[in-house]
């Protein structure tokens, strides 16, 4: 559906997108993950035909983004950051206008407008001026607009920006329901979003791709250490030393103590599981254990590690 080769975008003195290469298969939901200023919005603007790349190629649904801009725009539903809308129009009339722009008309248009308003739960405000809507509603109107002509590809720039948790969940469910008829490329800097919704993750930083994989594989490959937390009761001052003596334990630190129960954090070598030898040690030493919990690295850890190693290069 999307094929990007060596895409570059330079502004005066700054490279926003640096030789990006990736593909998006039809029917997938792919997440662009990166901090602000990483090049996510710029890439999306290039893909939706709004601005040209400095060099490189991109094709959407078989059409080149620069040479066949009109065809590309026909296959795309784009939702920009900050949902810029015409504030003097009402919701329903705005959606009607947008539908006409995208080639719908007559009864099909009216029906479809009603449908997307239901999908994005903006039916109740359909007669309200967009200028009088809260950010969350405007965001959903923009999303409804993107869905109008049932485009094969949706490009959504921070679709849950400004929504409350209930709305966020609704939008995520909506996005999941759009598979496989639609392909979705969304950008975000919220990691749970990616974990919850996306099939693949494209981590981007300083205009370059740091990682391109499924969320599970990425977290599994993490080179960072994992962390085990125990809450225990033990007599003696050598608990920490004994813990550190366990194989694969890098460091044991006591975080806090309450009523005799000590909270200890162990940093463990990557991909090693010390929970069993830990239990054996605890039984042998007659320690009382109240909690034993392994914290798996999250996507955030992956990202921070990749981003910092990238900076070190």
């Amino acid at each position: 559906m999307i094929d990007v080769q060596d895409l570059t975008k330079q502004y005066a003195g700054r490279t926003a997108v640096d030789r990006l290469t990736f593909q998006v298969e039809p029917g997938q939901i792919v997440g662009f993950l990166g901090p602000n200023g990483a090049g996510k919005s710029t890439t999306m603007r290039i893909l939706s035909g709004y601005m040209p790349p400095t060099s490189g190629r991109a094709t959407v649904n078989g059409h080149d983004v620069f040479h066949e801009s009109i065809e590309v725009r026909r296959s795309i539903g784009y939702m920009p950051e900050m949902a810029p809308l015409y504030t003097e129009m009402r919701v329903k009339e705005y959606l009607r206008f947008r539908g006409e722009l995208k080639g719908l008309s007559g009864r099909a248009l009216r029906h479809r407008v009603g449908e997307v308003m239901e999908l994005c739960t903006v039916t109740d405000v359909r007669r309200r001026l967009i200028g009088h809507l809260s950010k969350g509603f405007r965001q959903r109107v923009a999303l409804a607009d993107a869905l109008l002509h049932k485009p094969p590809l949706l490009i959504l720039d921070e679709p849950t920006n400004g929504l409350d948790p209930v709305q966020i969940r609704q939008v995520r469910e909506l996005l999941r329901s759009l598979k496989p008829a639609h392909t979705i490329l969304l950008s975000t800097h919220i990691l749970q979003e990616v974990e919850a919704v996306c099939d693949r993750v494209l981590m981007i930083h300083h205009g370059r791709i740091l990682a391109n994989d499924t969320p599970e594989k990425l977290t599994r490959q993490l080179r960072a250490a994992s962390v085990v937390q125990i809450e225990m009761q033990a007599k003696g001052n050598d608990v920490l030393t004994k813990l550190e003596a366990l194989p694969n334990v890098r460091k044991a630190t006591e975080e806090s103590e309450e009523d005799g129960w000590r909270m200890i954090t162990l940093r463990v070598e990557a991909k090693q599981d010390v929970r069993e030898p830990l239990m054996d040690l605890a039984l042998k030493q007659n320690w009382k254990l109240r909690e034993l919990h392994r914290q798996l690295p999250t996507l955030e850890d992956v990202f921070v590690e990749l981003a910092s190693s990238d900076r070190a290069k």
């Binding site: 709004y50 040209p52 920009p80 015409y86 129009m89 722009l101």
Partner: protein, 252 residues
């Protein structure tokens, strides 16, 4: 073509939903109403060498106030979309830039035409009231409104161009007002300086001088040369507007 109509409908609606169109309409009605009354009072004083049409449209102060209309109508057209970021949602639909430019321009032209309707009705009303006694030279009404339309086409296109140059509506208004006024006053001053400057220079400038065109048309003479002049300049500035938008978007 269909898209042009869709965009045009929306732009026209946007004009009449905002207070701007009504404020401008009120301004123009005050202006033309006052001019009309002044013209009538000149005729009341005794027989004169001009018709009511000429007396309405020839005083200079009428034209100097006239130029406020253009910035007010056009300043928001492109500058607002640029500032609010709505070009991004617009240009990610399958529309061509020329459709956007033309739809906004045509909506402004339609609104401008509506502005002059009341004054046109004034003449017919006075004609009816005086049972035809008032002298309206043949062709002078049509001529006057034709030159108004032609000048409107030209100045609205300048306004569109100014609006496309910036995201600040005030700056767009100032640029548009200055350019329109400079064009008008330039022609006026050269004609006034007539004695001091060479004959040929004055002859050349008379082709561009709006006041000359106005004098011709309001006396009932329809000269196609100014019509061509204004419409071709309008096309030029529309093309320039289109280029400005395209250039901004397609900068590599």
């Amino acid at each position: 073509m269909r898209l042009l109509w869709v965009l045009f409908k929306k732009e026209l609606r946007a004009f009449f939903v905002s207070p701007v169109a009504y404020v401008v309409l009120a301004l123009v009605m005050v202006l033309s109403g006052y001019s009309f009354r002044a013209a009538l009072s000149i005729l009341e004083r005794g027989p004169s060498e001009g018709s009511i049409v000429q007396w309405m449209f020839q005083p200079n102060w009428f034209w100097l106030s006239y130029f406020f209309v253009f910035p007010l109508l056009t300043m928001r057209l492109f500058a607002e979309e640029k500032k609010m970021g709505t070009f991004e949602t617009l240009f990610t639909t399958p529309v061509h830039t020329w459709q956007v430019v033309l739809s906004k321009y045509l909506a402004a032209v339609v609104v401008y035409s509506v502005l002059w309707l009341p004054s046109y009705l004034n003449f017919h009303f006075v004609d009816w009231i005086t049972a035809g006694q008032i002298e309206i030279p043949p062709g002078s009404l049509q001529g006057s409104y034709l030159i108004l339309l032609a000048m409107g086409l030209f100045n609205l296109s300048i306004g569109c161009f100014a609006s496309a140059l910036t995201s600040n509506q005030i700056i767009a208004a100032v640029i548009s007002f200055t350019a329109s006024l400079l064009h008008f006053l330039g022609g006026l001053f050269i004609m006034v300086l007539g004695r001091k400057v060479s004959e040929t220079f004055v002859d050349i400038i008379s082709y561009f001088a709006s006041m000359e065109h106005i004098r011709t048309f309001t006396s009932g003479l329809i000269d196609t040369r100014p019509i061509v002049y204004y419409t071709s300049l309008a096309l030029l500035f529309l093309a320039l507007t289109h280029q400005v938008l395209e250039f901004r978007r397609w900068k590599p």
